[in-house]
């Protein structure tokens, strides 16, 4: 394992100072549930890292705050905290459910939502609901603060489009109080499973018609995204299994349009269609089978 120095800033200012000073040589870490594994594996993405910066002590990275039109979740909020948060369960239940499916109890206690996004794995369980919620990363540096859409934040698997001296302090999500949501994860087992694929959806119903829709499939694109074509397809229509089957097909078409036909497409195409249909049925209160 590589030899690293350990930094533990007590204030955000101190942390940003380290980032400015060491740039790519410093890696901020929250729960370490991905980072420690990567270090043990000798991952090439960490080859230039000399300092680990433990951001646990920074108060700016904590807390869940419900604002008028958004919710702010501190980057250091653990999956367990997200799952157990009464306000998140009320406002964004599918995010709460997604958090409960991450790894194991121990991983959920240590792992954070900020880390889950910043690790930039397309298979991250919370990524789909965050993308469906139009999540923005609050990115800070000594130069100031900016917001980046989560769906635009990833350059490729394993790499965020952040400057070396920037770090994420919190995540802002839309308030979608009048939507009903669903998250479905397909893993190879019932716990400690990586998403083979997943689906996060949110539907706003008005007079028996879908007024607005958000559809975010997981593990199908190289960087996460909503599928607007599928959303447009169902908006203005009454929910039905047949309609949602069409939405599933629109998602798989989009997957193939973006990633091409791969060795795994034969499996992923029918399955993502089914997961999207099921998630939409669940959100709309329709039977799933």
């Amino acid at each position: 394992m590589q030899k690293l120095s350990y930094l533990k800033p007590q204030t955000l200012k101190e942390a940003l100072g380290y980032l400015k000073e060491y740039g790519e040589k410093v890696k901020p870490y929250a729960g370490g549930t991905d980072l420690m594994v990567q270090l043990r594996e000798g991952s090439s993405r960490l080859k230039d890292v000399e300092y680990l910066m433990d951001v646990q002590a920074l108060p700016e990275l904590r807390g869940i705050e419900v604002r008028e039109d958004s919710i702010r979740i501190g980057a250091m909020t653990s999956h367990t905290e997200v799952n157990e948060s009464e306000v998140l369960r009320k406002h964004v239940p599918f995010l709460s459910i997604a958090s409960s499916t991450v790894g194991s109890t121990q991983i959920r206690n240590k792992g954070t939502v900020g880390g889950n996004i910043c690790n930039a794995s397309p298979a991250a369980d919370t990524l789909s609901p965050f993308v469906a919620l139009n999540a923005r990363l609050v990115v800070v540096s000594v130069d100031g603060e900016r917001e980046v859409m989560v769906k635009d934040a990833m350059e490729k698997a394993g790499k965020l489009k952040l400057a070396p001296h920037e770090m994420v302090t919190s995540i802002l999500i839309d308030r979608i109080d009048d939507y009903s949501t669903a998250f479905i994860k397909l893993g190879r087992r019932k716990a400690l499973a990586i998403s083979r694929m997943n689906a996060a959806v949110a539907l706003k119903m008005e007079n028996g018609v879908i007024a607005a829709a958000r559809i975010a499939p997981g593990c199908v694109f190289s960087t996460p995204d909503r599928v607007e074509k599928a959303e447009a397809l169902i908006v203005g229509k009454a929910p039905s299994a047949a309609l949602f089957e069409e939405a599933g097909k629109a998602v798989s078409e989009e997957m193939i349009a973006r990633t091409g036909i791969r060795w795994s497409t034969e499996y992923k195409k029918p399955v993502i269609e089914a997961l999207i249909q099921r998630a939409l049925c669940r959100a709309a209160g329709l039977p799933e089978d």
């Binding site: 990586i194 060795w263 499996y267 399955v271 997961l275 089978d289």
Partner: protein, 774 residues
């Protein structure tokens, strides 16, 4: 055919669920494992693995590694007088320049700290010339395939060929109304014990004895490797088995190799050395469950009688043979399942490939074979238009019928165990109902499978053992034998058996093994033989000590008040007290006789050897007696298949096993619960994925073992019988517990989906698409 408790066995200690001896230590974390041990001046060792599947080392430079301060030794094959192991049955290399699989070791290092070991391993420069390799069974048997070993030009490991020739198979096929041919293939499986392999070696500077504390399944087996690498006598090696964190057949050769390298470094640097495997190393060097390619051709009559059974069972030995010949002996004996068939012709053999080696793993070929055979049986029944249960009833082993080796069997309760399980689970109704499901979302499935297993080692090697019992002056008793506690509860079962035979309370016994300088080798603790046959000597020595102590009680005058007591036949020792048959209420404490025996110089210890009746088979036909007896089991699996994702949810498993006598019913249940979960992983998620010899999954994030959340509801039914051959009537359970489960799940998947999975495991992709993705 009685369930547990229905047959009055009248044992006082055996047949009761006494608490396991090491249970509290394990659940409280108090137990010490080999990797927990620390010694003054202890240093660390490590291995450099090639990572190549087939290659020649053209240059190896250790100078930079040696120059690192704190690095004590760097050893390559050129530095070692005898890098080839002659210890076991496999031509393993402690160190090699001719790399034959990705786990082969090209250098070992010893340094002050673990971090320095890693640094030194990285500093070793190696250049390789890659060679063409052969990786799959199908490729290995193709004419002109590259030879893994020069002496086996067609890759067939000749010592592992085991034929069965019973009756006349051609005549059988001529009589058949229907002939069906099928092929099944199984995967590499990792044992997945929680504790990776660990060894600490310490050499006594005065007498040179090398002491090894190890995570060995078989300490005497480990001793051979250590003596071999050091070139010393076995009396100069002392192996202590530490508490094992699981083994399942996996800590045999692998730990031998590790202990040997560690002992070599220990002698070289003159300090205690610890070597532990990382999980990745454990995946790379520990033996795996052999993959089998199973090809069967079966002839049946319209009335459902199987008249001919032909089979070719080929297993993948990997780069080095690892017990393949013994494995194949068992595989040949069980090559036509739990059925009586007049004409059988099967050939079983192993082939070498440039892969990790197959080896012993819970079942020893049976999970593979039964997975294929029990699907085949259902495929035949379907072709015949016959109910699969009825088809099994017609053909399954019964009293007076013969198995594949031509042995006439007795105490066979196969059909009863099966019928009971089918009835209890409402199998027939559900099976019929589920066939007609049309849902494209979720479907239920129910599957049944049966199995029989030869108890102990049988004709493979003598199932002999020795045991020692020592009474102390306070009435406590020490016992020891060469068999080992591997987590299965052997020490508990042996203490029960000893207490029962001697006539003292369970709490009076301590089993102090296993130290190779304290007792004779009793053969390996394998083949589900420990309690069944391995404890025969413990029972025997218990009876012997009982007799000795009764004689002492008589000679010391403890019954002098009862004038007509002249013979030890009139004295009974039970529950820690002596009494006479005439006056059972007058008791003499065992401890008082022990104390008096000590001070009068009387014998109060014994050693006994047990040699079972011989099992003799003809090697060319496989005919003869292969095992003293067989255990019978039946499993019903109930599942739900997600037809849109291929996910198999195993919801309930009902397992019924004939255990002869349940020596400790709670431990039997434990064996079966664990066996079910292992069988579930085998059938649904577990697969060591090898691609041109490279192991893709080397840790548990992508080698998918079922978790507690995946565990189905379990219903266990224990059957007993009065077959007297095993110790106190016990039959094997460790391996039967897992061997049938996978087949039951595979049959349930077919019941739900109408699709046969002939390549294990039935993971998401295979269930949905009927094939592996890549």
């Amino acid at each position: 055919m009685p369930l547990l408790g229905e047959l009055k066995k009248n044992y006082k200690i055996v047949n009761h669920s006494v608490p396991r001896i090491d249970g509290i230590d394990k659940v409280t974390g108090r137990a010490h494992y080999a990797a927990d041990l620390k010694f003054v001046d202890m240093v660390y060792g490590g291995c450099l693995r090639s990572g190549r599947s087939h290659a020649k080392v053209t240059r190896i430079d250790t100078e930079k590694a040696k120059a690192i301060p704190g690095v004590l030794a760097v050893v390559t094959a050129d530095d070692m007088p005898k890098p080839k192991s002659c210890a076991g049955n496999a031509p393993y290399m402690y160190l090699t320049k001719e790399v034959k699989y990705a786990g082969d070791v090209v250098a070992i290092v010893c340094a002050e700290t673990k971090a320095l070991v890693d640094e030194a391993l990285k500093a070793i420069e190696v250049e390789y010339e890659d060679l063409p390799g052969v990786y799959t069974i199908r490729d290995a048997i193709k004419p002109g395939a590259p030879a893994v070993h020069e002496q086996y030009p067609d890759n067939v490991f000749t010592d592992s060929i085991y034929p069965i020739r019973k009756g006349d198979v051609e005549k059988g096929f001529a009589e058949a109304d229907l002939i069906i041919e099928r092929e099944y293939e199984t995967q590499y499986i990792e044992h997945s014990y929680i504790e990776p392999e660990a060894v600490v070696c310490i050499q006594n500077p005065a007498d040179g004895v090398m002491t090894v504390h190890s995570s060995s399944q078989n300490p005497f087996f480990t001793r051979r490797y250590v003596a071999d690498i050091l070139g010393v006598g076995m009396h100069d090696v002392r192996v202590f088995q530490e508490t094992l964190g699981g083994s399942f057949g996996g800590k045999e050769e692998g730990v031998g190799m590790l202990a040997a390298r560690c002992a070599y470094l220990c002698r070289l640097v003159g300090r205690p050395v610890k070597m532990t495997f990382s999980r990745e190393e454990s995946f790379l060097e520990s033996a795996k469950r052999h993959p089998f390619l199973l090809r069967y051709k079966v002839g049946v009559k319209k009335d459902g009688h199987i008249v001919a059974w032909e089979g070719t069972q080929i297993d993948n030995c990997g780069a080095y043979n690892n017990q393949t010949q013994f494995m194949n002996s068992r595989a040949s004996i069980h090559s036509c399942g739990a059925y009586t068939i007049p004409n059988v012709k099967t050939d079983t053999y192993g082939v070498f490939t440039n892969n990790i080696h197959g080896g012993a793993m819970r079942g020893y070929s049976s999970p593979q074979l039964i997975w294929g055979q029990e699907q085949l049986i259902e495929e035949i029944a379907e072709e015949l238009g016959m109910d699969p249960l009825e088809f099994r009833r017609i053909n399954c082993l019964k009293d007076g019928t013969t198995n594949a080796t031509g042995t006439v069997l007795d105490h066979v309760n196969m059909q009863e165990v099966m019928d009971y399980t089918a009835e209890k689970t409402d199998y027939q109704r559900k099976h019929e109902e589920y066939k007609h499901q049309t849902s494209t979302k979720k479907r239920k499935g129910i599957g049944i499978a049966i199995g029989h297993r030869g108890c102990g080692l049988g004709a493979e090697s003598p199932d002999a053992s020795g045991a020692m019992a020592i009474a102390n002056e306070d009435g406590t008793v020490l016992i020891n034998t060469g068999l080992a506690e591997n987590g299965q509860g052997l020490k508990t079962a042996f203490a029960q058996i000893a207490a029962e035979a001697i006539g003292v309370p369970y709490e009076a016994i301590r089993f102090y093994g296993t130290d190779t300088q304290a007792i004779a080798d009793s053969g390996m603790t394998v083949a589900s033989r420990g309690t069944v046959m391995g404890s025969q000597s413990t029972r025997k020595v218990g009876y012997k000590l009982n007799e000795i102590m009764r004689a002492n009680a008589l000679a010391l005058g403890f019954f002098k008040d009862q004038e007509n007591v002249k013979s030890i036949e009139q004295i009974v020792l039970e529950d820690g007290f002596f009494h006479t048959t005439e006056k059972p209420d007058v008791k003499v404490a065992f401890k008082d006789v022990c104390n008096a025996s000590l001070w009068t110089g009387r014998q109060m210890a014994a050693y006994e050897w047990y040699m079972p009746p011989a099992c003799i088979q003809d090697h060319h036909t496989g005919q003869g007696v292969a095992f003293p007896n067989y255990a019978y089991g039946c499993v019903v699996a109930e599942i739900e298949v997600d037809m849109e994702t291929g996910y198999v949810d195993v919801q309930k498993v009902t397992a019924s096993h004939d255990v002869g006598t349940a020596v400790n019913p709670a431990l039997v249940m434990g064996q079966i619960y664990g066996g079910i979960l292992m069988g579930q992983g085998y059938a649904t998620t577990e697969e060591v994925e090898v691609s041109n010899g490279k192991v893709r999954n080397q840790n548990f994030e992508n080698y998918i073992v079922p978790t507690a959340a995946d565990m189905p509801e379990m219903d266990v039914n224990i059957f007993e019988c009065d077959d007297p051959r095993g110790t106190f009537g016990a039959k094997s359970i460790g391996e039967p517990a897992t061997e049938v489960v996978g087949a039951a799940i595979a049959n349930a998947i077919y019941n739900a989906t109408g699709k046969r999975i002939r390549e294990n495991p039935a993971n998401l992709e295979r269930v949905l698409l009927g094939k592996k993705l890549r």
